[in-house]
């Protein structure tokens, strides 16, 4: 089990430079407009073209390609959630990851190095074991580890019983891992553009054209653009867009921060998360330790948070991984995540005809990039929710069919 890292030594291919030369102008009209060139918007455009043959598509982005959460996340990929609905969409996504680089023809540094989630108390052990059994029922790979087995896979973990929150066990998903987020975005963007999709940067959607309850296009800082169908894939800004279209969404936008250390020798070849002490860590390909924790507590659109949140996660990290004490912090940053009451996404139709929504991925949507784009493309193409997306409809907050992953995930990445 110890050596599951797929270490890459390949030469990096050249980036498709033309994609971020911000001079592509929008056409007057498209079949489909996707708002937001994050991972989910780009993947939606890619699968619209690839799976449904719809190529008269524009992805409209107010900033630059993957400048939102897609370029700011800590890239943890796993599918070992608690509920059946989650197993459905997240494991579909993981299966897509497993062939994505070959399919898209772009290096993404997808590395199935496993994801370990530590338990630190008796109740923590019980809830993680419940999760572990639920994964088995859903045929999602999952292993229960004793503290000694944790140590075997990751020798730098402190499994002493004398620390404040001792390691009492862990779940482990061997198929989980990480990927290089910006390369994932560029890969999807390039493949979509090759099939005819326009990617328009520096173009903010400022309103919708809605006639008789039906969307006809968008207003933007580069003029009005007509469209038969529009998909909102705007992560932290979804509430703002829904407001322009005249309906409410149960989302709150919060800062989520992450950090990296300076480059180090390879000391960790898996991903370790701990919800109870609020830290998670992996070591990226160049050697930097990548860490994050929970959100800052308040609503914000500022893409930054408080340093006490960073201090809190570093305190936990240094106790769990004593050798980190000597690592130097290089950089911290934040993104704005869209959090739903049940910590699950909102995907599907909206009260406005031909306007579709994909949001609420909150702190954990990177892993779902392929699956989210896949179901969103099918939902837009067919005008009705894809089977895997159906449980995630906006009306679950009226029916009460919530998909409550809050307690299940702890640190919800």
């Amino acid at each position: 089990m110890a050596n599951m890292t797929r270490r890459r030594t390949v030469e990096l291919p050249d980036h498709p430079d033309f994609l971020w030369v911000a001079d592509q102008k929008p056409k007057k009209a498209y079949d489909v407009i996707i708002i937001g060139a994050g991972g989910h918007g780009l993947a939606t455009a890619y699968y619209l073209a690839k799976n449904h043959g719809i190529t008269n598509v524009a992805v409209i982005e107010k900033g630059w390609l993957a400048g939102g959460n897609m370029g700011r996340n800590t890239t943890i990929i796993r599918s070992n959630y608690l509920w059946d609905e989650s197993a459905g969409i997240y494991d579909h996504s993981l299966k897509l990851w497993e062939n994505l680089e070959e399919e898209v023809g772009y290096e993404m540094f997808f590395s199935q190095r496993g994801v370990m989630t530590l338990a630190h108390s008796v109740s923590d052990v019980r809830s993680k074991q419940r999760n572990f059994y639920a994964n088995h029922v859903n045929a999602v790979d999952s292993v229960w580890l004793t503290p000694e087995e944790v140590k075997e896979i990751a020798p730098i973990v402190n499994i002493s019983e004398d620390i404040r929150y001792p390691v009492m066990g862990a779940t482990f998903q061997p198929r989980g891992g990480i990927a290089k987020h910006d390369w994932v975005a560029w890969g999807y963007a390039k493949a979509a553009a090759d099939m005819g999709v326009d990617i328009i940067q520096n173009c903010e959607v400022t309103g919708f054209k809605i006639v008789d309850g039906k969307v006809q296009g968008v207003k933007t800082t580069q003029g009005d653009i007509a469209a038969n169908k529009v998909g909102m894939v705007a992560a932290g800004h979804t509430s703002v867009l829904a407001g322009m279209a005249g309906f409410d969404v149960p989302l709150q936008s919060r800062p989520l921060q992450a950090l990296v250390s300076e480059l180090n020798e390879q000391v960790l070849d898996t991903v370790i998360m701990s919800g109870a002490v609020h830290v998670y860590v992996s070591q990226a390909h160049k050697g930097e330790l990548v860490m994050g924790a929970g959100t800052d507590s308040y609503n914000s659109y500022a893409q930054r948070g408080g340093f006490h949140v960073i201090e809190h996660q570093l305190a936990a990290a240094c106790e769990l991984f004593p050798i980190f004490e000597r690592a130097h912090l290089l950089r911290t940053w934040g993104g704005i995540v869209d959090i739903a009451p049940d910590a699950s996404p909102i995907i599907g139709l909206t009260p406005v005809e031909n306007l579709f929504i994909n949001s609420g991925w909150g702190t954990g949507g990177f892993k779902a990039t392929p699956g989210s784009g896949w179901v969103m493309a099918a939902t837009i193409a067919n005008g009705e929710p894809d089977a895997l997306a159906k449980p995630y409809a906006l009306d679950r907050f009226i029916s009460g069919h919530l998909i409550d992953e809050h307690g299940a995930a702890g640190v919800a990445h």
Partner: protein
């Protein structure tokens, strides 16, 4: 770290407080007659403005009292804070 103006104690560090989300969300009248849609709105929908927002905080490691305050979600600037059941100051916008 935010410097939050408690109306009882004055400005204090964020780590002394807990967040309480949108202010002035009243429990619905005629609650036994509400439809599922109306309940969903009360339970799950909170405003999420980009800009000035009236919100609640509790000074949990200080005076332990709840209060309301205007804060700008774009740059984290604070407007006036005020005690519950007092006249809400105008939005600084």
């Amino acid at each position: 770290m935010l410097h939050i103006p408690c109306p009882y104690c004055g400005p204090r560090d964020e780590t002394e407080f807990h967040y309480g989300s949108e202010a002035h969300v009243a429990y619905p009248e005629n609650s036994s007659n509400l439809t599922d849609e109306e309940w969903a709105k009360f339970v799950f929908i909170r405003s999420n403005p980009k800009g000035w927002m009236a919100e609640r905080w509790v000074h949990s490691a200080g005076c332990r009292r709840w209060f309301n305050v205007w804060r700008n979600t774009i740059n984290h600037e604070f407007g006036p804070s005020y005690k519950p059941f007092t006249q809400q100051p105008k939005s600084p916008a």
